[in-house]
Symmetry: C2
Subunit: 216 residues, 2 copies
């Protein structure tokens, strides 16, 4: 395993659960006792920028909730090219669900693009937590549902033109995404070369300018 | 709406719930009373081969459980080319989750590739069923999880070569898939032209033959 116990920095600060409980509260109603119980199932962890959470070939031991920071999951093909599959911001989860659930080695890498504060959940801890607090089934059903929708959209867009892909992205992503990410990562996420992305962006800017001039 | 009430053929046969309850039983334990209650939330429906369940531009009103038959969901691009996103066999669910959950018009079409027996669930019926039988949250969480894994795999494979895609498919699909589907639909699912699929299959057959001869 790439992520050894020695690398896990335990964090004692209980305010680390603030965002998680806020997200829980949006979907289910937990008592204070249940929240306290919840905390015992998570492993708080800080990750510095560029540190790994998961490396291809390892089993994905953790589903990670992002309290602070930004991570990405990606594959690397035979030629060494990275393909970004997902970004995860504050309030999002990231893992390789296939590997997490089956115990099979993962084909994905997950690393931190900014300094991160995470809450990690093992498969066993998740099962136990859901058994002790069945209400949370609802929360996980809904977040997985949202994740499914996002992935289906990505799959449909993989057959779109470069311009359509970029339009789809700026419509659907959080406003902060382009500011927090280098261009080549946006390109990788869209399955475009940085040159194509740059060309598309220029074209879009020109179109916008033309539109403003026509209006004037 | 394409799917009008007049087109819904109600089916009285209660054995239609056999497979659904078998699938429920694999994940959660329901009493006979709960099963009876369940039935009241579903609309049994028969669909003949080539009939539609959902047409692009309409809101996806139903999540459909397949008791018998085979359906597909697909998009059509500006040039009129179909791209198959998902097949659904006996025991699977099919819908456009995005449209089903948000009430936004769908970008997908769903139609029957064989005569089908379906159990339809509206969003409202699903919500009410989950409220009355919260145990079922677990069942839906798990099936959505499996759907997410399958979609993530499809997304990752959209960047693979034709040969890798085909290999992935024959490893992961039910054995009956290639027999029940015309070649051009398999090609569309894989994002290949029928010619490329045919070339890949020939190459694979040759490789297999060569392997057998080398072994002999």
């Amino acid at each position: 395993m790439y992520l050894t116990e020695a690398k896990i920095n335990f964090v004692s600060n209980h305010s680390m659960f603030e965002l998680l409980f806020q997200k829980f509260d949006e979907k289910v109603s937990l008592s204070e006792e249940e929240k306290e119980l919840c905390k015992s199932f998570f492993i708080p962890k800080k990750l510095r920028k560029k540190q790994w959470l998961l490396q291809e070939g390892d089993v994905c031991k953790y589903a990670a909730f992002v309290e602070k920071g930004l991570l990405r999951s990606y594959t690397i093909n035979e030629k060494g090219t990275e393909h970004i599959m997902q970004f995860a911001f504050e309030g999002w989860w990231i893992s390789d669900q296939f590997s997490f659930l089956t115990g099979e080695p993962s084909g994905y890498n997950i690393d931190a693009l900014e300094n991160c504060e995470l809450l990690l959940l093992t498969r066993q801890a998740q099962d136990e937590m859901l058994e002790r607090i069945p209400k949370l089934e609802r929360y996980f059903r809904i977040i997985i549902q949202n994740s499914l929708i996002a992935t289906q959209k990505r799959l449909a867009s993989s057959r779109q033109s470069a311009e359509e892909k970029y339009n789809e992205l700026i419509k659907s992503c959080p406003d902060t995404l382009p500011k927090r990410l280098p261009q080549h990562m946006l390109a990788s996420f869209l399955g475009l070369t940085p040159e194509t992305l740059s060309r598309v962006r220029k074209k879009m800017t020109l179109k916008k300018k033309q539109y403003v001039e026509d209006k004037a």
